[in-house]
Every structure is written in C-alpha cells, then in structure tokens.
Amino acid sequence: MELLNKYKKSYTNNDIQFVFVNDSRVILESDQAFLKLTIGDFIYNTHPFFECLHALENTPEEETTFNCVHLNIHDKEYTTDIKIIKKIDGILLVLHNLTQHYLTYQSIAQSRNESIINGELIILKNSELEERERFKNSFIQNFSHELRNPLTNIISITNIIANTELTGEQKNMINFLRESNANLKLMLEDILSISMIASGKLQLRNKEFNIYELFNLLRFTYGAKAKEKGLEFTLTSDIKIPEYVEGDYLRIYQILTNLLDNAFKYTQDGSINFNIELNQKRANKVSLRFKISDTGIGIPQEKLATVFNSFTQLKTAEQQNGNGLGLAIVKGLLQQMESDIKVHSKLNRGSTFYFDIVLKYPLHPTIKPDIKEKKYKHKEEGKFKVLLVEDDIHLQTTLFKILINTEVFFVDLINDGAKVIEELVNNSYDIILMDINLPNLSGDKITHAIREFPFKNIKKIPIIGLTANAYEDDIKAYLKAGMNAVVPKPFDHDVLLKTMFKYLK
C-alpha cells in the first residue's frame, strides 16, 4: 500500500484540512492542507465564520456540518464544507475545500437566476405597457364621449340658426361654423375609431348592401370635389362585380373616404383614379381589389413604413389640416376585415394605395328598394306626442327645438328616470326619446320596466335611445332591454327624425 498511500496523499490531502482548537478557541494544531493557519492564534481572527463555534456550545449535537461556506483568507477565497466535531479535549474542525465543485454550481445558479429574473421583468414590462395602452384608450374613449354632448349642442344650434333669417355676412359665418363643426365631429370620430380599434372594441356589422350605390355616391362626392380643386377624378369598376354584397358598409365607406380624402389632400394637380377590380368570384364570395392612385407629392421611401402609424404625418403637409389618423384607421379597419393595405409611391410622382377584401354576396338579395320618407309625416289628427326623457339642459333645448320645428310634435319633458312610468300612466304618448344616463333610474332599466308593463298601450310604445356610448356591446344591451332603436350622440337631426318616423304610425 505504500505506493497507493503516496499517490493518494497527493490527490486528497490538499483538499481536506484538519484543525484542532481548544475550548478557548485557540488553534492547537492544523495540518495546513490548504489554509496556512497560525498556531496559537484565536480561530475567530482567521475568519468571522468561526464565531459560530460560540453558538454551538449550547447545542446537543456532537457534529454539525456547514455546507458551501466562503472563506476569504490571505486574500484567497475558498468555498468549503466545514464539519465541526465536539471532542472531550476541544473541537475538531474538518475543512473540505470544494472551490472547483462550487464554481460549477455557482455558474448554473447564475444562469438559472438570471433567466428567471429576466423573464419576470419582461412580463412586468409587457403588462405595464398593456396597462398604459389600456389606460390611454379608455381615457380617449371617455374623453371623446364627454365631448359628444357639447358638440351635439353646437351642431344642432348651428343648424337651427342656419334656418333663421340671416344677413349675407352671418350666412358666411354660419357656413364657416358648420364646416368647423363637421371637421371637429370627424376628428372626434377618428380618435374614437382609432382607440376602439386599438382596444379591440370595434366590431364589424356585416349587412347586405348595394355596392354600386356606394360607387355612385363616391363618384358623385369626389367628382364634385375634384372639379372644385381642378383635378381629374375617375372611378372605374368591373361590371362583373355583384350588385349586392355583404359587409360593413359604414366601415368600408370610412376606409374609402379616408383614402380618397388623403389622395385629394396630397394632390395639387393631375388626377386621382379609383379602380375596383374583381379578383375572384367563387361560391358566394367575391374578392375585390380597391386601388386608389394619385399624382400627388408622393411619400419618401423612408416614410413608407411609418405612414400607417397613429399620429404620423408627412412633413410637407404640416400647414394642411388633418390629424394624421386616417391611414392608421384604414389599416386597423382592414386588419379587422382580415386584409392589409399596401402602398407604392414615388416622390413627386404620386402614390397608389390598394387592398383586397373578401365579401359574401347573396345569390338572392333581400334588400327592398328604399322607401323615401316624405318630408314630415303627419299624424292623422293633431300632433305626435313625444315624451323626452333627458337630464342635460342643453340637449333638452336642442332636442326640443328640433322636434318643435317640424311642427308635427308635441313634446313633454322629464329629467328624472324614476318618474317616467308615472308619466306614461297619466298620459298617452306616441313615442319616447330616452337618454341612457339618467338620474335615479337608467334609460335601459326604464325601458325594461316599460316592456314588462301589463297594459298593451304602454308596453308597446316605441322607445328610441339617445346615447354617447356608441359601442356595439352597449347598443346591443339597449336593444335587448327593449329599445326599438338607438341614435348615437352627437346626432344628426335628420337621422334622429328619420328614426323617429320609422316607428310612428
């Protein structure tokens, strides 16, 4: 065993050190395997770890092991397992130098901890961003709603003034006011659209519509606009496109008008061409390509990637009005329709925007031709009796004037939700106009109560909701509560009257 002992010694000895201290913690002996300790010294002076010897005095255990203890001694760091064994004549310390072993363990722990912490921080960062986005969107939505009521008042009162006798100068001013109102309303709607798209609240309402009528409308509107601006405007469409298709008419209209308005805004001379091609027609689906080209200022190459971002605007257009949300809305709406907008552009030569959408088309269209409303329908005898339930004083006045000006309505007003039923029992009304946010009892709750009422004449009264909460979900809930229709604020008075007459007999 001599050979073996000789070699064994060279491999093990250096890593295991035996030290003996007396009860006063003075080092009596040390084999100095890897730590050079001073014999006769207090072991406490070697490293503060050894102060634990004091605490061990009172423990019942004969032997205690400390794993992975870092000892910095003589400017060197050792990572050790330390066994402390009580003997009758003192304390035996067995120090096992495992520095290499623990180094590996440390590097594993290092990468594990780092990756866990990084993962946590990424999740936190994301949720913070989402939270901020959510806050932003709900702020914008609430704020736009708040703006609707005063805007409705302004628009309506402007309309009322426009219908009075005015001097030429006043007429000019009113026209200017109307134009500004319209712009403001558009901007408000744009902001609302973009935040609804961003927050995923916007839902498409697919309905059957006549797409040729849409083309005609656009041809008419933008033809006039082109003439005014000295531009050429053409709208061409493939005659194989079916007349009736199913889609969200309003949103498609919004996309196209946004793109066309944009084209007009950035084109000073030349032409704007709007072309609708048929890509495919299969089973009951058509794929259409909408392409709008202009000969305007074009978009610099480096801007192409960002033109669809919110609040982005081309530099040269700074003097022109508009808030730069148009293209972002277009992109968002098209994404909802599972489509994407593309653009080609050459600086100072013009731009072409195009996209494809797939629409269902019914083989047997169900739309009947529009029955045009007479100017104002009259009740057979007397006037229609309207119960107006609205607590906003300005809206009360506005609505009152709109209704009275038609000369076919008689209007009663209530501003407390809780009094509606009582009023209905005591009077007979042809129709109710009902705000949703009312003191004491909300409009949808009142509606529900009316629909549950035992008397047929009350139960069946048409109810039209007036609301600034123009969300799909809200409107659905109001209809479900029993409203016949909901007119969003700010309302156009034609839309309001048209809706009312639809339910009046």
Binding site: H47, E51, H54, L56, T59, L121
Partner: protein, 165 residues
Amino acid sequence: MQTSKKIVILGHFGVGKTSLIRRFVEDSFSDNYKVSIGVHITKKVVEIAAGDSMSLILWDLEGTDDLETIRNSYLLGTHGVIFVFDVTRPSTFQNINTDLKIVTEKLPNIPLLVIGNKTDLVVIKELEELLNKNQISTDFLTSAKTGDAVNDVFLKLVNQLNGAT
C-alpha cells in the same frame, strides 16, 4: 466592551441582500449581479456608546424562493434577521406573509426587520400604494444603489439587539 451578534440576511434571489451588506460594510455598490451560493460571512464593528461597540457578524445567505430549504446550520445562534424583497419584482413579495411565517418559525423570538429594496427604480408613492393594497408592512424601504435608508436598517437592528442584552 465588545459584544458579537450574528445577523442573517434572507430573501429571494436577486433582491439585493449582498448589495445591502456591501453598501453597509464597504459603502460601495455594483450593478453586476453575481449570484451568491451557500453563505458569505462578513463582520462590521459599530460603536454603540463611548467605549462600547458591537461586532456584527453578517450572514449573507444564498437567495431562495423556498425558505423551507434554508440549511438549519446557517441559522444556529442567530440574534437578528433581515428579510429583504425586491420592490420591482412582485414574485419576491407576493407570498411575503407565508415567507415571514417560515422565518419566524425557524428563528423565533428574535428581532426581524422587513426591507423592500431597490426603491431607486420606482416612484415611492406608487410603491407605498402597492404595498398598502397588498397589506405588506415594511420596516424600511431601501436602495443599496443610492444608499438610501441602508444604515438605518442596521442601526435599528443594533438598537434592538443592544436593548436585548
């Protein structure tokens, strides 16, 4: 006269235990994160009165989110304990009450201070709201990076330990 007290610093990994000790002992800080394994022990002597000092033996333990797994030998003869969490990482304080229960079971009847660290990374007002909402009470909110309130932690512990002797 000099007395010697063992103080254990506990908490999840990466919360700043090592950094707090480094700030207290050497008055320095590093942004680099070197994971501690096992235990690092340092000593710092503080004056408690003219001629009297206390020698603090600081046991900086390997961080863990499962305090049950802490080796009992590390806790032998502990006089005071500091539990640290990271105010920027909810995972280090969302189960704090369970964590503290484990700590007090393992180390009963000794002073315990609860520290929220890395306050330099958050808005204090928002942090206080968050802690209130989660019904978390702390003894100190610190920053090892700026040194904010770090000495106060150890001072308070020294005072508590001094009163106890």
